[in-house]
Symmetry: C2
Subunit: 167 residues, 2 copies
């Protein structure tokens, strides 16, 4: 136990999954206030992880012959990256006051959010995963499953699920 505590003190790699939602920005600010602390003996690295949905199957749709001309594909690609940049810019505004006391990395993955996040946490050697929680109703949750549920179950490191308080 002692050694484990010692190891935890040394360095902390915190992965925060960010997306377009208010919930994820709240989770990020919770993380900064509660897990990144200026006077801790721990050096923190904040890793922002954004997951782009997988591209649609252009080829099969292309067979229809008119919808996915190269221009449209290019436009969708560009739209995807604009979204990434806007989310990262919002995140920057949230963490800017903490930049001097931690390092920041930004990662973008593509695919099913559940799988990408679980894979990234392992690959990046994360010590903590922080996620916002969308409060879907019963049916949407039953249909979609919940990304945070899945990750809390499958990821090996501690997982923080942050709900945004209702104003």
């Amino acid at each position: 136990m002692e050694e484990e505590v010692e190891k935890m003190r040394k360095e902390k790699r915190i992965v925060v999954a960010v997306d377009e939602s208010e919930e994820s920005m709240y989770a990020l600010s919770w993380c900064l206030t509660n897990l990144v602390s200026d006077a801790n003996k721990t050096k923190s690295t904040l890793i922002l992880l954004y997951v782009k949905p997988p591209p649609p199957l252009y080829n099969s749709l292309d067979a229809a012959g008119y919808l996915f001309a190269n221009d449209a594909v290019g436009a969708m690609e560009k739209y995807g990256w604009d979204l990434v940049n806007s989310v990262m810019a919002r995140a920057e505004a949230v963490y800017k006051d903490f930049s001097s006391i931690m390092s920041v990395e930004k990662k973008v993955g593509t695919g099913d959010a559940k799988d990408v996040i679980c894979g990234a946490v392992e690959k990046l050697g994360a010590d903590i995963l922080v996620m916002g929680s969308h409060e879907y109703g019963f049916f949407k949750r039953a249909l979609l499953g919940s990304v945070s549920d899945h990750c809390a179950k499958h990821v090996k490191c501690p997982v923080v699920v942050v709900k945004r308080p209702r104003d």
Copy 2:
């Protein structure tokens, strides 16, 4: 967002669900290292929550006429409280180095762990709930459900699910 961050800094009531498991003691030590920090501007209150299982239905079993004599009931009650005390004593050993920088409260509930924990978090005005995670196999999880899953879904405050790394 700014106000929310401000509010989070002021005081932090952290509920840690403890039981007989190594996992819950690891979760407690993770919590102390990562959430209770001496130099934070935040004053922390650590609330240890132990849930005793509900008593068996003595009356219906008593009808059998021999098993649950009053002595046996008393012995089981005593065994239950011995368990509570031993868990709290183990917890004390884990948090003793942090006692000077936080206040500690101990709570014991009785009933189904899921419901008791969710109810207590609300009633105690918790800002964070910390729980260990038992890595059951698929069948046990499917049968029993997971207390941490349930709480992460139903509790309003941020929930930390801590897995104990395999040595």
